[in-house]
């Protein structure tokens, strides 16, 4: 069976897992860590850095370091949420054609899926190094409330990274899989509270006979650990600017240091009551010289600063529970997932709302990736008895006359599903009709998210009202929407022309995939070159040591021609190292290795003979 990996592609951190010999296992990255920061940077020397390497240099290279790309993925540049983000992101985002946000790193502009693909490529390489086999299939998780466009973009990112994303699953559902894995007798209703770095999800599930059935789900697109960090940053910046008249947020390097310090102190406050934030030389004034920022923050302060954020999560929980028609007392377990769910205040609030101690059976940061790996293995394994029944997080519908939104598939409908909409011509001999597909809950079409527009073309000519076209909407198990149309009277497929579409075009994805492949090849060549150079240098040293024995004594005369060849090869190897000729250097290294064995053998025989 081909290996399939599970990837939790998070806003701040990503986790990689696979089912190995039937056991879901987190795969550490090549540096040995189980969490890989979802950070990408282009270093000053032009090299691509991903993960902790990128995070480490973020302070000194804030302009060219991308954090939290997940908050941008699958969104339009002009969207309110994106515009709001732009004010706080240290890197430069510009609008490309098609209203696509593009991230500017050095001289190059990257689409958001390309940036996510860099993280995925890194994880793919980690998986290959660990499993010692090529990996091409993956299950990637997304927040449950992600729209169709965001799911598509995530899938595109996978393709660019050279991964076939065999399934996109929702993060809370994935955590539930990790919880219920290997317990076929489990029969209960559970809730998953998933507060990650950038997103919040809440799902109610029923687990019975190996079927994981989502009853209802909901979330907040812009609520996560980073918002908590920002509150701390603001709390630090306010008094400083009052005292010194300097807004530290305008200095990118200072801002990055503040962010790091805020995140660190927030994490520490989960364990201790107070902690110190100490940022020496954070800024400077010509009059007073260097300025330092030093502050003590208490857990109660953090809780006050973030009270409204916690309350927002609770509001979502109440809404989803009422939609699921489940009362808190019916739930037999509440899983806490996501790094931010470690905060004691969050745990307390959850405990109060559900009147029960949250479950500690799953690892808050690893459960999602493990669940993805489990789902991947279950899909490929024929004997697998497990089944996941997820729901669509948003209602799907079309725009109707007057700018209203008509729902065709209601939210929380189990996927895969499909629905029809009968379209009737309104004019005599009407040939074309435009259909606008949207996702959302508002009654007004423009307030919902546009999935796409398409034209029904070449409609059979007839008096108005006589031609009926059945438009069919399908939502796949990944939550991805597709549309087709059928002429009711003739039963013929109706052709569709796409006039507006979210995300990257097929061509863009292909181009990006090629670019990523090229990078991988260079990267691989680089690694090989370094290896060979290292070997060559070691050989040079060994020949240096043998040199006196080879050039003097009884052997010197007999070697003759071989010595000439050796000298040429050594000289060639040095040239090849200079010119970075990986292939040629490989040949030279092989020759040198062979010669070393031969000469050593000869010397041994002479040594033995002379004794």
């Amino acid at each position: 069976m081909d290996p399939v990996i599970g990837i939790d592609l998070g806003t701040t951190n990503s986790v990689l897992a696979a089912v190995i010999d039937g056991v879901p296992t987190v795969i550490p990255n090549r540096s040995g860590y189980r969490l890989t920061p979802s950070i990408v940077a282009i270093a000053k020397n032009g090299k691509r850095l991903v993960g902790s390497l990128a995070k480490r240099q973020a302070v000194t290279n804030a302009d060219n370091t991308v954090t939290a790309a997940k908050r941008l993925i699958g969104r339009k540049f002009s969207q309110g949420a994106v515009q709001q983000l732009l004010t706080i992101l240290p890197y430069r985002v510009v609008a490309a054609a098609n209203d696509e946000p593009r991230i500017q790193l050095g001289e190059h502009g990257f689409s958001v899926p390309e940036i996510s693909a860099m993280v995925l490529t890194e994880l793919k390489l980690d998986a290959e190094a660990y499993l010692q086999t090529p990996v091409t299939k993956a299950v990637v998780t997304v927040p449950a409330h992600f729209t169709d466009a965001q799911r598509q973009a995530t899938r595109d990112a996978g393709r660019i990274a050279g991964l076939e994303v065999i399934r996109i699953i929702n993060e809370p559902t994935s955590a539930a899989l990790a919880y219920g894995h290997g317990k076929p007798q489990l029969d209960r209703k559970i809730a998953v509270f998933d507060l990650g770095g950038g997103t919040f999800d809440f799902s109610v599930l029923r687990v019975q006979k190996g079927v994981f059935e989502v009853i209802a789900t909901g979330g907040d697109t812009a609520l996560g650990g980073e918002d908590f960090d920002r509150r701390v940053v603001e709390w630090l910046v306010g008094p400083f600017s009052k005292e010194h008249g300097i807004d530290l947020r305008s200095d990118k390097m200072a801002l990055q240091r503040l962010r790091d310090a805020a995140e660190k102190s927030k994490c520490e406050l989960s364990a201790v009551k107070t902690t110190e934030i100490n940022l020496p030389f954070i800024s400077a004034k010509p009059t007073t010289g260097p300025l330092h920022l030093r502050s003590i923050i208490g857990r109660d302060t953090l809780e006050q600063l973030t009270e409204d954020l916690v309350n927002r999560t609770l509001d979502v929980c109440r809404r989803v529970l009422s939609e699921a028609r489940v009362s808190p007392s019916e739930l037999e377990d509440v899983l806490l997932v996501g790094g931010q769910a470690r905060m004691p205040r969050v745990q307390e609030a959850v405990k109060l709302l559900f009147a029960r101690e949250p479950s500690r059976q799953v690892h808050p940061e690893e459960a999602v990736a493990l669940g993805a790996a489990i789902q991947g293995a279950a899909l490929l394994d024929e004997k697998q008895e497990m089944l996941l029944l997820d729901v669509t997080p948003h209602s799907l519908g079309i725009e109707i006359a007057g700018g209203y939104f008509q729902k065709i598939i209601a939210r929380n409908t189990t996927v895969p599903t499909s629905a029809h909409h009968l379209f009737t011509t309104v004019k005599d001999k009407q040939q074309n009709a435009k259909i606008t597909v949207l996702q959302g809950e508002s009654e007004l079409a423009p307030q919902n998210e546009l999935l796409g527009e398409f034209m029904l073309t070449g409609i059979r000519q007839a008096p108005r009202g006589e031609t009926e076209i059945d438009v069919i909407f399908d939502i796949s198990a990944d939550g991805i929407v597709s549309v087709s149309a059928l002429d009711v009277a003739t039963g013929l497929r109706q052709s569709i022309t796409v006039t507006a579409r979210a995300g990257l075009s097929e061509e863009d994805v292909k181009k990006a995939t090629q670019a990523n492949d090229d990078w991988l090849t260079t990267q691989k060549t680089d690694v090989e070159f370094e290896e060979r150079k290292y070997k060559a240098l070691a050989l040079f040293k060994q020949f240096d040591e043998l040199w006196p024995k080879l050039t003097t004594g009884p052997l010197a005369e007999s070697l003759g021609e071989a010595m000439t060849r050796l000298q040429t090869t050594l000289a060639n190897a040095r040239v090849q190292i200079e010119a970075r000729e990986t292939q040629a250097l490989g040949g030279s290294v092989e020759t040198l290795e062979r010669m070393l064995t031969v000469f050593r053998g000869a010397l041994d025989r002479i040594g033995a003979g002379s004794r």
Partner: protein, 320 residues
């Protein structure tokens, strides 16, 4: 969103019939559920008849989901059965959604007219009767709670009384009051409850009066006599026997030259606390304000009889 770029000839080579990895029994079941020209009921989709109980519906749903969900056959060659699987799963899911809730199931049952066997019809009628009976019983239970004069009612009252005591101990006076009121409504004869309710109501009123007094004092100190007057009056409404409130109101009223009211309140204060100097002094000032000099003189004389060293009173008397 993906768009199916479909053309009028969409029969691709791999949609040839027969070229599939799907087991034959699954193929047969899928085809059996596709009968053009005949509506297939939700019960049939789940392989049940209308007599099925909720547990049977649930387990049929789970079993059929595992069988017909496209994920169960992931990576298999499905050919023309691919769309069929997805459609069948959707119908299974829909059937479960309708039949798993008593209300939507009843509506659905009522809407079915054709293709229903006599046995099924009996089951549906029986189920409707059971539901009606359950509703009737629940209704009766509710009515009984409100209308019995029996022990249950007294017990409930006692329970509420105990709850109220617990709430009071925790400082939740408002909730305690509500519980006691409910208890009194259930059992008006029990003196304990009525007495405690009275005490608590008094306490609540007193504490509100105290709050208003504190506010009035603060306003007075800030020199805002008209606001203080309003607050003192409010305090008086909550606790009409409060001398402090009466005196405060009189003081503020004198300040605001509202002598008629000031006189009335001061007189009341004197009535409740005849020994306090301030009451008579305020009364005298109000009387002077009302040009009732003779009365004022008498008041001041009484005051000086009690407190011979009251300089202010002496000065006032002299000015008269």
């Amino acid at each position: 969103m993906r768009y199916a770029m479909l053309h009028k000839s969409d029969a691709s080579p791999d949609s040839e019939a027969g070229d599939t990895d799907l087991p034959v029994d699954v193929q047969i079941e899928l085809l059996a559920l596709q009968q053009p020209g005949r509506a297939i009921s939700h019960y049939e989709v789940l392989g049940l008849d209308a007599t099925a109980d909720p547990i049977a519906i649930r387990s049929a749903y789970l079993a059929r989901s595992k069988r017909f969900h496209p994920d169960a056959w992931y990576g298999k060659k499905l050919a023309q059965f691919g769309p069929l699987l997805a459609d069948t799963f959707r119908r299974v899911s829909e059937a479960h959604a309708v039949l798993s809730e008593a209300e939507s199931r009843a509506t659905y049952d009522a809407s079915r007219t054709s293709g229903v066997s006599a046995k099924e019809r009996t089951a549906v009628t029986a189920r409707a009767e059971v539901r009606a009976e359950e509703d009737r019983r629940a209704d009766e239970r509710r009515r009984r709670v409100f209308h019995t004069k029996g022990f249950a009612r007294l017990g409930a009252a006692r329970k509420l009384f105990e709850d109220a005591q617990a709430l009071e101990e925790r400082g939740e006076r408002g909730l305690a009051l509500q519980a006691l009121k409910a208890a009194r409504d259930l059992d008006p004869t029990r003196k304990e409850i009525a007495a405690r309710l009275g005490e608590l109501e008094l306490l609540a009123v007193k504490s509100r009066a105290q709050q208003m007094l504190a506010r009035a004092r603060a306003e007075e100190q800030q020199g805002d006599a008209s606001a203080a007057l309003v607050s003192y009056q409010a305090a008086m409404r909550h606790d009409p026997a409060s001398v402090t409130a009466l005196l405060g109101a009189a003081r503020a009223a004198v300040h605001e030259h509202d002598f008629a009211n000031a006189a009335a309140w001061a007189a009341k204060a004197v009535e409740y606390a005849p020994k306090a100097a301030e009451g008579r002094l305020l009364l005298a000032r109000a009387q002077i304000g009302l040009s009732q000099k003779a009365l004022a003189k008498a008041t001041l004389a009484q005051l000086l009889a009690q407190h011979p060293d009251q300089k202010e009173a002496r000065a006032l008397l002299k000015s008269l």
